[in-house]
Symmetry: C2
Subunit: 266 residues, 2 copies
C-alpha cells in the first residue's frame, strides 16, 4: 500500500459515531506508527482535509470537502439526478426511496426521498454507512460485483446488526444467483428491525456496479402485491437512473419483462 493510500485511509476512521479522533487513537486504529500518522495528518491538514479541534487537540474532517463536493456535483450532478428519480420512486411506491454508492467495501448514502402517503416511514440519514452483507442495497451490489470483492468481503467476520442479519457467508453466497436473475435484492430486518428493503444495482459506463437504489418500507406494511409493485417501479427507476448517469446495465441484467436466460460464466 502506498503512502498516499495510508493517508487517505485515515479519513475512513472518522464517522458519525467518532467524528473526531486523537493522534494516538488514530495510530492505534490504523495500525500505523504514531510518528507516521502525525506526519500524514500534517499533510492532510495542510490541504484542509483534516483540522485540529480547538487548540491542539483531536483531529476532525476538514472544510476542503465542501468545496470539492460542490465542484464534483457541479460537473457530475449525480445527487440531483438521483434525487429526482428517488422522488418519483417514492411517490409511486408510497415508501422511502434512497440511493447509495459503493465506496471501497461499504455503501455511503447519496440521497433519499420520503413519501407522505403513510403516517410512518423509514427514516434515512446522510453520512450513514451501509454494510454490504446486512442491507438490501449491499446484496444487490454484491450480486453484481466481481468475485474478488465478494470473496474479500465475505472472508471477514460479518457483524450482526439485528437478530435477523444473515452472517453466514455461504448463506449470502447462496442468495446472489437469484438476485441476479431477479435484478432485485430483498432484505428483511437485516440492518434495522422492522424494515423491509428492496434494492436494485446501478451501473457505470463500463457496466461496473457503482451502487444501488432501494425502497425501504416497514415490515408491517409489506404484502405480496406491494412487493410486486415496488419491484416493478424500482427496476424501472434504477434502469433509468443508470441510463441518465451515462451507464449501461451488463448484458446479463434482466430486462423489464422476466424471461428465460442462459447463465453465463464470467
Amino acid at each position: 500500500m502506498g503512502t498516499t493510500s495510508k493517508a487517505l485511509s485515515l479519513l475512513n476512521f472518522f464517522s458519525r459515531a467518532t467524528p473526531q479522533i486523537g493522534l494516538s487513537e488514530l495510530a492505534r486504529l490504523s495500525g500505523l506508527n504514531k510518528a507516521t500518522v502525525y506526519r500524514l495528518l500534517g499533510e492532510l491538514a495542510a490541504h484542509g482535509f483534516v483540522e485540529q479541534v480547538g487548540t491542539g487537540r483531536e483531529y476532525r474532517l476538514g472544510p476542503a470537502f465542501l468545496r470539492l463536493a460542490a465542484l464534483r456535483e457541479k460537473h457530475v450532478p449525480m445527487r440531483d439526478v438521483a434525487l429526482k428519480q428517488l422522488t418519483d420512486l417514492s411517490d409511486a411506491t408510497g415508501e422511502t426511496a434512497h440511493m447509495s454508492l459503493l465506496n471501497g467495501e461499504v455503501l455511503s448514502n447519496l440521497a433519499y426521498a420520503y413519501s407522505n402517503r403513510h403516517g410512518t416511514m423509514v427514516m434515512m440519514d446522510d453520512a450513514e454507512v451501509l454494510e454490504l452483507h446486512s442491507t438490501g442495497s449491499g446484496l444487490a451490489v454484491l450480486a453484481y460485483s466481481p468475485k474478488s470483492l465478494v470473496d474479500e468481503m465475505l472472508s471477514r467476520p460479518l457483524k450482526a446488526r439485528t437478530s435477523q442479519t444473515i452472517t453466514d457467508p455461504n448463506q449470502i453466497r447462496a442468495l446472489l444467483p437469484s438476485i441476479r436473475t431477479e435484478g432485485i435484492a430483498a432484505s428483511v430486518g437485516g440492518f434495522e428491525e422492522d424494515v423491509f428493503s428492496h434494492a436494485a444495482p446501478i451501473f457505470d459506463a463500463r457496466s461496473i456496479c457503482i451502487g444501488a437504489m432501494a425502497v425501504a418500507a416497514p415490515v408491517s406494511r409489506m404484502t405480496d402485491p406491494l412487493r410486486m409493485m415496488i419491484r416493478d417501479n424500482l427496476l424501472a427507476h434504477a434502469r433509468q437512473t443508470t441510463r441518465i448517469l451515462g451507464g449501461f446495465p451488463p448484458d446479463t441484467f434482466p430486462t423489464r419483462e422476466p424471461q428465460m436466460m442462459l447463465q453465463k460464466e464470467a
Copy 2:
C-alpha cells in the same frame, strides 16, 4: 513536499473550467513525472477521490467527496450556520451576502444568500474560487493572516481579473493596515466589473483567520449611507458567525464602536 501532498495537490487542478484532465496533461500541469501522476491517480481512484470518465480516458473528481462533505457538515455544520447568518445579512442590507473559506492560498465559496429587494443583484456560484488579491474577501483575509502567507502570496505575479484589479504588491500591502483598523476590507470591481464588495474576516478557536463574510452590491447602487449600513451589519454578523462557529476574533480586532488602538507588533 511529501508524497501525500503531491497526490492531494493534484486535486486542485480540477476546476469549473477544467473539470476533467488526462494523465499527460495533469503531469504537465503539476510538473510531476507521468509515471508518478499515474500511480498517485491510481491511489486516489482506489479511495473514490478521482474516477476515470467513461472507458479509460480522462480523470475527474470522484464521489467520495459527497460522503465526506456530508459527514463533515453533520459534525461541523458550518454551511448551515453561515447560511442562516448570510440570509439575515442579506435581508438587512438588501444585497447579496456570501462567505468563503481559506483553502491554501485561495478562498472557496461556502454559502451565499440573495436579497429580493432590488431587480438586480450580484450572482454567486458554488465551487467558485476567489483569489486573495482581487477580492474584498481576499483582502480581509490577507489583513489578518500571518506575514508569511502575505509574503508568499504577494511574491507571485498577480493576475488582473478586470481593469480595476490592483496588481501592485506594494499597493496591496499599503491597504492592509487600514483594513485592520476598520475590521472591513472593500474592493471596487477587482474581481468582476461593477461589483462593490465589503468583507470582514472570520476566525477560528485559535483566532486564526479562516475565511471571510462579504456583501456584494452593484457599484451603481453604492452610496456613502449604504456603505455605512453595510459596514455595521457586516461587522456584526461576521462577529456573530465567528462566535457561533466557536471562534474568537484576535485581541487586535476592532470592537463594534470604533476606538483608539495601539498597534502591536506580532
